[in-house]
């Protein structure tokens, strides 16, 4: 199970249409940033930034080859992200835990740790 920050990072990564298109492209097989950039009317730099966000979210991994560094889908993280409904529920459950704590805190009034 992903932690909530990982989960938010994953949802945030998936929230961008260009990044989802990059994932869809990588579902066909690995690709370099240059190859990924081809279909998009945006700079190589912008695509590179999107790739970094996806990498940080654990959705893709990049090769070690310093020049090419092809990206590929990362199985486990994507599988977890794919189980989005369960994760989404977890996301709200966790949020409501904090709501519960918040409601207790404000009714208890200020107190010293």
């Amino acid at each position: 199970m992903m932690t909530t920050d990982q989960l938010t990072t994953t949802f945030a990564a998936l929230a961008d249409p260009t990044r989802r298109a990059i994932l869809a492209r990588l579902a066909q097989g690995e690709a370099t940033v240059n190859e990924l950039a081809e279909p998009f009317p945006i700079t190589l730099q912008a695509v590179s930034k999107h790739v970094k966000v996806l990498e940080r979210a654990g959705l893709i991994a990049r090769g070690r080859n310093a020049q090419m560094r092809p990206s590929r889908l990362q199985g486990t993280a994507l599988k977890q992200a794919a189980e989005w409904l369960g994760e989404y529920r977890e996301f709200w459950d966790d949020r409501f835990d904090r709501l519960d704590h918040h409601l207790r805190d404000i009714q208890r009034g200020p107190r010293h740790e």
Partner: protein
């Protein structure tokens, strides 16, 4: 392939040891919302929050990852506002991974002074996400495939 997005629903019921007016305030006052919207590891600045508590009003909450500073913004519209018992929030698809989500919050006063919250979210998935998931079948992403196929 079916062109219509698929819809899935989650329901969560919680009982809070707080009067209904306070739970309503926690949902509708930015100062309160900032304290619990979270999640852990992210900060929700009060000034990132816009809540126009009226039907058709705007909803916007931003959060920043403490670790790497990535922003995540949730935007939407209040579809229904019935103080202090019912809020229906429609999240915009454009800034999200889903193809729109509608969250309904019902607050019910219990005889002992506590408040029952019934939360229901209906989430629409995009064809694009389904496509990624279907490709994933070969890689063992079978659970998503089952979920999206079940509609």
């Amino acid at each position: 392939m079916n062109e219509a997005p698929t819809a899935q629903e989650i329901r969560i019921t919680r009982v809070f040891d707080a009067p209904r007016a306070l739970v309503w305030q926690a949902w509708t006052d930015p100062e309160h919302l900032a304290r619990w919207w979270g999640p852990r590891g992210r900060t929700t600045p009060v000034d990132s929050i816009t809540l126009e508590i009226r039907p058709g009003g705007t909803f916007r909450v931003g959060s920043v990852s403490d670790e790497h500073g990535d922003d995540m913004v949730t935007t939407g519209t209040f579809r229904e506002v019935v103080e202090p018992e019912r809020l229906v929030l429609e999240e915009a698809a454009e800034d999200s991974w889903h193809d729109g989500a509608v969250s309904e919050v019902r607050l019910i006063e219990l005889a002992d002074g506590r408040t029952e919250m019934r939360f229901r979210a209906t989430i629409h998935t995009t064809e694009e996400m389904i496509g990624i998931a279907e490709t994933g079948i070969n890689s063992g992403f079978d659970r998503l495939a089952e979920q999206v196929a079940a509609r």
